[in-house]
Amino acid sequence: AQRVTQPEKLLSVFKGAPVELKCNYSYSGSPELFWYVQYSRQRLQLLLRHISRESIKGFTADLNKGETSFHLKKPFAQEEDSAMYYCALKDTATDSWGKLQFGAGTQVVVTP
Protein backbone atom coordinates (compact mmCIF):
# COMPACT_ATOMS: atom_id res chain seq x y z
CA ALA A 1 0.00 0.00 0.00
CA GLN A 2 1.20 3.51 -0.67
CA ARG A 3 2.40 5.48 2.29
CA VAL A 4 3.97 8.88 2.94
CA THR A 5 6.14 9.34 6.00
CA GLN A 6 7.28 12.61 7.48
CA PRO A 7 9.42 11.60 10.44
CA GLU A 8 9.65 15.02 12.08
CA LYS A 9 6.57 16.50 13.71
CA LEU A 10 8.41 19.68 14.63
CA LEU A 11 11.45 21.37 13.16
CA SER A 12 12.88 24.42 14.85
CA VAL A 13 15.55 26.41 13.01
CA PHE A 14 17.18 29.80 13.30
CA LYS A 15 16.64 32.48 10.69
CA GLY A 16 19.28 32.20 7.99
CA ALA A 17 20.04 28.56 8.72
CA PRO A 18 19.37 25.80 6.20
CA VAL A 19 16.20 23.79 6.61
CA GLU A 20 15.41 20.32 5.33
CA LEU A 21 12.08 18.58 5.74
CA LYS A 22 12.17 14.86 5.20
CA CYS A 23 9.61 12.91 3.23
CA ASN A 24 9.81 9.22 2.41
CA TYR A 25 7.25 7.30 0.45
CA SER A 26 6.37 3.75 -0.42
CA TYR A 27 4.69 3.19 -3.75
CA SER A 28 5.00 0.44 -6.28
CA GLY A 29 4.38 2.54 -9.37
CA SER A 30 5.79 5.78 -10.74
CA PRO A 31 4.94 8.39 -8.13
CA GLU A 32 4.01 12.02 -8.47
CA LEU A 33 4.91 13.99 -5.39
CA PHE A 34 3.99 17.38 -4.02
CA TRP A 35 4.68 19.64 -1.08
CA TYR A 36 1.77 21.56 0.40
CA VAL A 37 2.08 24.33 2.97
CA GLN A 38 -0.35 25.82 5.46
CA TYR A 39 0.56 29.17 6.97
CA SER A 40 -1.11 30.28 10.19
CA ARG A 41 -4.80 31.04 9.65
CA GLN A 42 -4.54 30.28 5.94
CA ARG A 43 -5.64 27.49 3.68
CA LEU A 44 -3.64 24.53 2.60
CA GLN A 45 -1.90 25.44 -0.65
CA LEU A 46 0.45 23.84 -3.13
CA LEU A 47 4.10 24.79 -2.66
CA LEU A 48 5.71 22.75 -5.41
CA ARG A 49 5.43 19.56 -7.43
CA HIS A 50 8.33 17.34 -8.39
CA ILE A 51 7.43 17.13 -12.05
CA SER A 52 7.92 20.85 -12.52
CA ARG A 53 11.38 20.85 -10.94
CA GLU A 54 10.70 24.38 -9.86
CA SER A 55 11.88 26.50 -6.98
CA ILE A 56 9.19 28.31 -5.04
CA LYS A 57 10.01 30.82 -2.30
CA GLY A 58 13.55 29.45 -2.33
CA PHE A 59 12.41 25.89 -1.64
CA THR A 60 13.45 22.95 -3.80
CA ALA A 61 12.72 19.26 -3.62
CA ASP A 62 14.34 16.42 -5.52
CA LEU A 63 12.71 13.09 -6.11
CA ASN A 64 15.14 10.29 -5.27
CA LYS A 65 13.57 7.08 -6.49
CA GLY A 66 16.43 4.96 -5.16
CA GLU A 67 15.90 6.21 -1.63
CA THR A 68 12.14 6.77 -2.17
CA SER A 69 12.49 10.26 -0.80
CA PHE A 70 11.29 13.74 -1.68
CA HIS A 71 12.96 16.00 0.85
CA LEU A 72 12.20 19.72 0.88
CA LYS A 73 15.13 22.09 1.28
CA LYS A 74 15.85 25.76 1.64
CA PRO A 75 19.36 27.13 2.12
CA PHE A 76 18.41 30.12 4.27
CA ALA A 77 15.24 29.96 6.36
CA GLN A 78 13.14 33.09 6.83
CA GLU A 79 10.66 33.84 9.60
CA GLU A 80 7.82 33.80 7.07
CA ASP A 81 8.64 30.14 6.36
CA SER A 82 7.12 29.20 9.70
CA ALA A 83 4.21 26.97 8.75
CA MET A 84 2.93 23.41 8.56
CA TYR A 85 4.32 21.46 5.62
CA TYR A 86 2.77 18.34 4.14
CA CYS A 87 4.29 15.95 1.66
CA ALA A 88 1.74 14.32 -0.64
CA LEU A 89 1.75 11.54 -3.19
CA LYS A 90 -0.62 11.09 -6.08
CA ASP A 91 -1.68 7.62 -7.06
CA THR A 92 -0.92 7.57 -10.80
CA ALA A 93 -2.56 4.18 -11.19
CA THR A 94 -5.99 5.68 -10.78
CA ASP A 95 -8.06 8.12 -12.80
CA SER A 96 -8.67 10.06 -9.64
CA TRP A 97 -6.20 12.93 -9.89
CA GLY A 98 -7.84 14.38 -6.82
CA LYS A 99 -6.68 11.47 -4.68
CA LEU A 100 -3.67 12.63 -2.75
CA GLN A 101 -2.02 10.66 0.03
CA PHE A 102 -0.68 13.08 2.64
CA GLY A 103 1.96 12.64 5.28
CA ALA A 104 1.29 13.67 8.87
CA GLY A 105 3.01 17.00 8.38
CA THR A 106 6.00 18.83 9.82
CA GLN A 107 5.58 22.05 11.78
CA VAL A 108 8.45 24.44 10.99
CA VAL A 109 9.27 27.22 13.41
CA VAL A 110 11.87 29.77 12.36
CA THR A 111 13.20 31.84 15.22
CA PRO A 112 15.07 35.14 14.79
Binding site: V4, Q6, E32, R43, L44, Q45, L46, R49, I51, Y86, A88, K90, T92, T94, D95, S96, W97, G98, K99, L100, Q101, F102, G103, A104, G105
Partner: protein
Protein backbone atom coordinates in the same frame (compact mmCIF):
# COMPACT_ATOMS: atom_id res chain seq x y z
CA UNK B 1 -13.08 35.02 -6.86
CA UNK B 2 -13.33 34.04 -3.19
CA UNK B 3 -11.74 30.70 -3.85
CA UNK B 4 -13.22 27.48 -2.61
CA UNK B 5 -15.93 28.11 -0.04
CA UNK B 6 -17.30 25.72 2.54
CA UNK B 7 -20.24 25.86 4.89
CA UNK B 8 -20.76 25.78 7.73
CA UNK B 9 -17.43 26.75 9.31
CA UNK B 10 -18.15 24.89 12.54
CA UNK B 11 -20.67 22.28 13.51
CA UNK B 12 -21.51 20.37 16.69
CA UNK B 13 -23.50 17.15 16.48
CA UNK B 14 -24.23 14.22 18.75
CA UNK B 15 -23.57 10.57 18.10
CA UNK B 16 -26.02 8.94 15.72
CA UNK B 17 -27.00 12.17 14.00
CA UNK B 18 -26.55 13.00 10.36
CA UNK B 19 -24.56 15.89 8.91
CA UNK B 20 -24.34 17.60 5.52
CA UNK B 21 -21.32 19.68 4.59
CA UNK B 22 -21.27 21.93 1.54
CA UNK B 23 -18.59 23.07 -0.86
CA UNK B 24 -18.54 25.54 -3.72
CA UNK B 25 -15.55 25.19 -6.05
CA UNK B 26 -13.68 27.96 -7.76
CA UNK B 27 -15.65 29.28 -10.72
CA UNK B 28 -14.91 27.15 -13.76
CA UNK B 29 -13.61 24.18 -11.79
CA UNK B 30 -15.37 20.93 -12.49
CA UNK B 31 -13.70 18.65 -9.97
CA UNK B 32 -14.25 18.53 -6.22
CA UNK B 33 -12.44 16.35 -3.72
CA UNK B 34 -13.19 15.82 -0.05
CA UNK B 35 -10.68 15.12 2.69
CA UNK B 36 -10.92 14.40 6.41
CA UNK B 37 -8.22 15.78 8.66
CA UNK B 38 -8.10 14.44 12.19
CA UNK B 39 -6.12 16.48 14.70
CA UNK B 40 -2.41 15.81 14.38
CA UNK B 41 -2.67 14.00 11.05
CA UNK B 42 -2.53 14.91 7.41
CA UNK B 43 -5.67 15.11 5.27
CA UNK B 44 -7.13 11.77 4.26
CA UNK B 45 -8.90 11.39 0.93
CA UNK B 46 -12.62 10.59 1.06
CA UNK B 47 -14.08 11.25 -2.42
CA UNK B 48 -13.45 12.91 -5.74
CA UNK B 49 -16.23 14.02 -8.09
CA UNK B 50 -15.82 15.24 -11.65
CA UNK B 51 -18.67 16.30 -13.88
CA UNK B 52 -21.13 14.97 -11.30
CA UNK B 53 -19.64 11.48 -11.33
CA UNK B 54 -17.61 9.80 -8.61
CA UNK B 55 -14.01 9.41 -9.81
CA UNK B 56 -12.43 8.12 -6.64
CA UNK B 57 -13.26 6.87 -3.17
CA UNK B 58 -11.04 6.51 -0.16
CA UNK B 59 -11.17 3.93 2.59
CA UNK B 60 -14.22 5.24 4.41
CA UNK B 61 -17.38 3.39 5.47
CA UNK B 62 -20.65 3.62 3.58
CA UNK B 63 -21.89 6.10 6.17
CA UNK B 64 -19.98 8.64 4.09
CA UNK B 65 -21.53 9.71 0.81
CA UNK B 66 -21.27 12.67 -1.50
CA UNK B 67 -22.71 14.15 -4.61
CA UNK B 68 -21.97 16.92 -7.08
CA UNK B 69 -24.58 19.21 -8.54
CA UNK B 70 -24.90 20.63 -12.08
CA UNK B 71 -23.27 23.87 -10.90
CA UNK B 72 -20.31 21.73 -9.67
CA UNK B 73 -20.93 22.45 -6.00
CA UNK B 74 -20.83 19.42 -3.77
CA UNK B 75 -22.22 17.98 -0.57
CA UNK B 76 -20.63 15.49 1.79
CA UNK B 77 -23.07 13.53 3.93
CA UNK B 78 -22.20 11.49 6.98
CA UNK B 79 -24.81 9.28 8.63
CA UNK B 80 -24.86 7.73 12.09
CA UNK B 81 -22.10 9.97 13.38
CA UNK B 82 -19.44 8.50 15.63
CA UNK B 83 -17.11 10.29 18.02
CA UNK B 84 -14.27 9.42 15.67
CA UNK B 85 -15.84 11.46 12.89
CA UNK B 86 -14.80 14.62 14.72
CA UNK B 87 -12.38 16.30 12.34
CA UNK B 88 -11.75 19.12 9.92
CA UNK B 89 -13.37 18.35 6.59
CA UNK B 90 -11.62 19.91 3.63
CA UNK B 91 -12.91 20.43 0.15
CA UNK B 92 -10.57 20.98 -2.78
CA UNK B 93 -11.37 21.92 -6.34
CA UNK B 94 -9.41 21.67 -9.56
CA UNK B 95 -10.22 22.54 -13.12
CA UNK B 96 -10.19 18.98 -14.40
CA UNK B 97 -9.39 20.26 -17.87
CA UNK B 98 -5.63 20.06 -18.12
CA UNK B 99 -5.73 16.57 -19.57
CA UNK B 100 -2.82 15.58 -17.38
CA UNK B 101 -3.31 14.67 -13.78
CA UNK B 102 0.10 15.88 -12.69
CA UNK B 103 -0.72 19.38 -13.88
CA UNK B 104 -3.93 19.59 -11.88
CA UNK B 105 -3.59 21.82 -8.85
CA UNK B 106 -5.88 21.23 -5.91
CA UNK B 107 -7.19 24.44 -4.35
CA UNK B 108 -8.36 23.90 -0.81
CA UNK B 109 -11.17 25.55 1.08
CA UNK B 110 -10.96 26.67 4.72
CA UNK B 111 -12.67 23.53 5.96
CA UNK B 112 -15.62 22.69 8.18
CA UNK B 113 -14.75 21.71 11.72
CA UNK B 114 -17.09 18.99 12.95
CA UNK B 115 -17.33 18.03 16.60
CA UNK B 116 -19.31 14.94 17.53
CA UNK B 117 -20.30 14.66 21.19
Amino acid sequence: DAGVTQSPTHLIKTRGQHVTLRCSPISGHKSVSWYQQVLGQGPQFIFQYYEKEERGRGNFPDRFSARQFPNYSSELNVNALLLGDSALYLCASSSGTSGRASQETQYFGPGTRLLVL
